[in-house]
Symmetry: D3
Subunit: 298 residues, 6 copies
């Protein structure tokens, strides 16, 4: 069960209203790398997890992400507070309000007109949050890697937001939130490597020798070797002939159909056959100005 | 520039039509962990990348993923081939066609009715593919971790699909595709660790001491310690009082408004004030059967 | 700040695995009327709210909805638990696994193949949750009405789920969750009507006489009068002539353009003018079998 | 059957082109609270409704909303008319066109570049309209409440748009549209309360005593009592121990598995067990600059 | 202005309840090729159109499509009518209701559980309708071609639905709807070709010689010539060297940066440089069972 | 199998950084009419196609569209290159960075803050690409028409982008891409008309006389005749009585229910009946200031 304490995890002190900055902060509220995504990611893993250690860790961190969602949402709310009543109360001239709304230079108009200055669960372009952002698949050796990556991304987006503001209270709170992503990444890495083995993930062994081959699929000026494709680590295959039909077959495709299936397939083929010998007049001919009268009885 | 060779990277031999299985295979065609997502992920990173080694690796792997998209799409096409003409040519009784369409026991009806038996870019539930699945953010120390995780997830979904079929040709091709995810994961790991340092990702240093704290946010039977929250690795904070307002402030929020802003905020507050002293009649009263005549002149 | 207690708000006892039922339960986990939607709805309103009473109520209820999300998610997890390891460990014959996956008769295949048996944030058709479900607009006299309606809808969907299962533990927990929607509706109604006046919502007065007119736009057998369009409550307008151009104008549209604007508009009109006097041959003629050779030099 | 009359329901007179304002008006054309959403909401309820009075009312109002969609769409079209041909005909210098497109200060670029100056079914941020906005569930005591709330929201968004423009013709038409939402809300309220009882919605009775309890889930400075949680109306529960496991159980979760299910669950648990006694080296160690050569034979 | 007449455009007589068939019919109600998409497509074009003939035609056909939406929605409603009350009234045993819901063999469960048996604006997989289906761009020589294509697609999906049912009333109504798509296609073709010239669409002339070249990008067994790439109609380019850098340049990419831009680009490059000479240990090494103790002071 | 050649199909030379222009170019990268949509459209048709000529053509063009995706993505990357490192390295004052980000005057902020200056698969408003843009249905006489239309649209959006920039290298590359759409349209038209007959598309004949009727559904000032509704080509029906119930029936709807179905339908009707004789007090009365004390024992 969740309970709530009215003290924030981190005190939020904002120097002045700034709906344009508020809008950018939405990235970490309702954006793909934001705190709702983080909380939902770990919470759903927690529900599906049976390992006692990981289960405990996942709900600890999920709960903290919810508390971070509250911090970043509070920042958005404070930055919007001055603008919030403007449209609702409409005490200024219309022209002034219009200029204020459109003058912020980014998508803050949607926060103001559609969402009334509240913090909506969208990214900074106004795109609604979707659980398509969450890549949990219910296998811990994959999910923990997904979590590690997610923490890295969140850390970076916080860096970018920090670079955008000189409001000391906002900067400080963002610095805290950014740092916690680092701590969470550490925990998830410990949890991943305390499963042994964890690579390859899952249960099925890879098929030899394909797990040790690097296909040099793009060729030309710019080809470069490094540990990711070195002879030390991989068999490096550049010959185009060795890159296709690597099973030794003919590289074609086939399916065995029943007689009844064959019949409808052939019937459809006959009906929709294109005649390679023809050279029909087409809509481009008609459209390029070759005027021809419609046949009678159209 | 991309060019195409009519030989597949892996020969596809399917034993018999099976639209229900085709539908499940869509997960790796147009699903979140599928080959289109993989190809788009690495291709967009390639376009944004300036480091010569990573740029080369990303386009090599992106190109191979497109070739995998062709292999899995070909499998879907072959499994659907027998069913494809049935609706189009409609040579059976309607009742039989209806039973065939609905009897497959999963969502293959959408592939057949809406998409005509072709392989659509949807997952196995018919949900259209969206680039919201792609988590590229343009910072290599994060993006490489995202790629590592993505390869892990794709490996696992292939495992699950392999477990679902006993068609030897399908099993073999899926085994190849699964294995290549393992090889790609290796390359991305090598690329990540050949950047040094790569942790914490990005440029901004974490704020001490918050990168070394583990907040025990969920408490009760089931609390457990492990390397992810051990005293060796973390400062473990369980006291609720030490979990909130960790900056030492009051845990509240504030913003400094201008006088004009204050005025509209107050005006809106007054207009929408809720009176805690009242106990008004409500719609639930009216709806629970307390019949009261409408006032005259409504 | 949110904290978590490992005891659920309501004990969950499930009698047996049932992935098909689990899938239906997703409606109240990641569906539009489900608990994530409820929690996010009230939590975002809380962040944007300044009235102390409503702010407190909104976070009380938002927190409880998160705890409900945990209860329903736990039910989904328990119902899926038996099926969860099947694909991952793949100890059965492939054919059996395939039959088990597709035989449940609804979309549970996606929960199993893509999400590994965990509770995903989708509805029962596998559609990802989106914040487009949340209709908060930042005006309490509208938002409270939205909340009242949302609680009604959630109550009904719980009713339907209760009708689908005879597992006593599931039924009991669903009954609790259903009932809490009733309690929340009561609170939101009290909060709405403790704002006076709250109708019409907002600040701008309606334009007379249009707020008292009922336009009988659909006519024919089936027209019926009731309090929603009675003469007592409304002016009832059936005459088609009185339904259009109700401002007394000509019912047309116009805009004043500058000379430069006029010029490009006319230029575009000339370029794309359709000639009503022509009767051109078209693609349907060409496609209906009127074979005409392509002109030379195409 | 729908038929169309070329006179608008309200005459539209626009003073001058303004693509920036046009873009904001899209909120009520293709936005979540806009006229398409309203029309679709009532039209789908009409199709599913069997009660003769409600059925008639729903199609009356649905039809009027379509006519409103035409009015707001016409406003958008007129505001964009001057800008429409600019890109198409491209008679100005490129720099000027670019400045005109990007200088409007909001998202009008998408209306111009992608949609050619026509009114697209998106909101003001360019987000495509989705039927996820529609919350119809096929139970009138819930749907009517949803309609009441939807009319409130639409009324408010019109208020905001009215505050943004000083074009008298636009203001007047918006005032009409806003007012009609008020009239529709009245009709839906009459329809709701002419069903008796309508609370609780649906058929299943609430479970005592949970429909009369208010859980004070968020505690701290800011707790406040009002009619929504007063002792007069509710049992107010603040004790944390009385908020969890309210059924009197242990607050845990369980499911009875078959022996075969148990076996795969245990097998998966063993394979993915995390060792709480370990303290493994992790990727963060490797990434923080602890350089260690790869083992031979990688 | 739209008005409504209570007589349908086509009488709907359904022989018996069939929620499974109802679900498939949703393709033409809320699916991508369905009637809402058609109506919205032509209605938005009508609003943006200035040519008097096309404007009149577009609203004629848009209005008829709305009337078709009513017909197909009525069919869905009738097919669901028997199932509608079942969940709501819950007079049967739970087990029976569950079997009825899941036994239909397709996604009708969502229509019943979430939407209460009403016709929702989704496709047959439960995917919400989105205006992303509409490809109007505000240029008539493109939009009319889009309309022609849309009518073709709708005609085909109706064919498939007709093949699925033997209910004579449903079949007959679907036949009417299918046929009207044919009539509309004819009108749109006439409208397209009454603009002369209409090819190439738009205003900018193509760049010679690239409009007359066919690049044979895919090579191997299966290459085939026809009028779409014949020497008569195109210059056929197969030589790989002539397919890249067709402008005669080097096929590379470049941008001129300012000194300040150069500096940050180089700084980022240095920070994220991957060392091709290294062969670092990676997470796959750690995860493959190479157990190494974490360094002290982690 | 796809392979990649490091030379672009067209050399990209960009004169200077311009993140605002980069953002607009996204329309043809990740927008609905862009190159990913084109490549996916033809590639999925290729996989489902059995006709040898069309199959070859589709993969030729799909491959070329992937190469175009690389060209337009490279343009976006170059235009963003100067801005890319700014946020990452953060060497300027925060205020300057904020002004640079928000000053571009369109949605380029999202490309920079969320995507780090890389080319994301979104349109110019930041909306993620979705396969809902692709209208392939697996019937060549429809799909080829969809392709013809898609090429027209893409041609037009390129025209608009060309009009927005005076950078000669960008203009030249866009001119090439625009022209190739013209060439592809020609090929698709040849392929369509080499199927004979191709109209009406599909197999089912239209129902007479409905394929030859034009319903004048919208009436009033502005009615106009042309070849799309001329007496020469169509039977023109204006009489409202002849537009409804065109089958000669009563224009009503019906379904035959079983006795058990009838019973639950009636039960639901009784429970939710609205009383047309009542005039109940409603929430609008309560909300308009009619203060009434709540009944005791609420």
């Amino acid at each position: 069960m969740f309970v709530h304490n009215k003290r924030l995890q981190y005190t939020v002190r904002v120097s002045e209203s700034n709906p344009g900055l508020a809008n950018l902060m939405l990235e970490q509220f309702g954006g793909p790398q934001g705190e709702l995504a983080a909380a939902c990611r770990y919470f759903t893993q927690y529900l599906g997890e049976d390992d006692p250690g990981r289960k405990d860790m996942l709900i600890d961190i999920a709960t903290e992400e919810l508390s971070h969602l509250e911090v970043i949402g509070t920042i958005v709310g404070m930055l919007n507070k001055g603008a919030k009543g403007r449209l609702a109360e409409a005490v200024e001239e219309e022209g002034e309000i219009y200029r204020a709304i459109t003058g912020a230079g980014n998508d803050s108009h949607i926060t103001q007109v559609l969402y009334g200055g509240g913090p909506p669960l969208t990214n900074s372009a106004g795109v609604p949050w979707t659980s398509a952002y969450i890549d949990t698949i219910g296998e811990p050796t994959a999910d923990l890697r997904s979590n590690i990556a997610a923490e890295s991304r969140a850390k970076i987006v916080y860096e970018r937001l920090i670079a955008l503001t000189d409001d000391p209270g906002v900067k400080e709170a963002l610095g805290f939130l950014m740092t916690r992503e680092v701590a969470h990444q550490k925990s998830f890495e410990k949890a991943l490597y305390s499963i042994q083995p964890n690579f390859p993930p899952g249960k099925q062994p890879p098929v030899k020798p394909f797990d040790g081959i690097y296909y040099n699929m793009s060729q030309g000026v710019g080809d470069l070797r490094g540990p990711w494709n070195s002879d030390e680590n991989f068999t490096y295959v550049s010959d185009r002939a060795d890159q296709s039909a690597v099973d030794g077959g003919d590289g074609r495709f086939s399916v065995q159909l029943t007689a009844a299936e064959d019949q409808v397939v052939e019937q459809m083929a006959a009906r929709t056959m294109s005649d390679p010998q023809s050279n029909p007049m087409t809509g481009t001919d008609l459209g390029a100005g070759v005027v021809i009268a419609a046949p009678t009885g159209n």
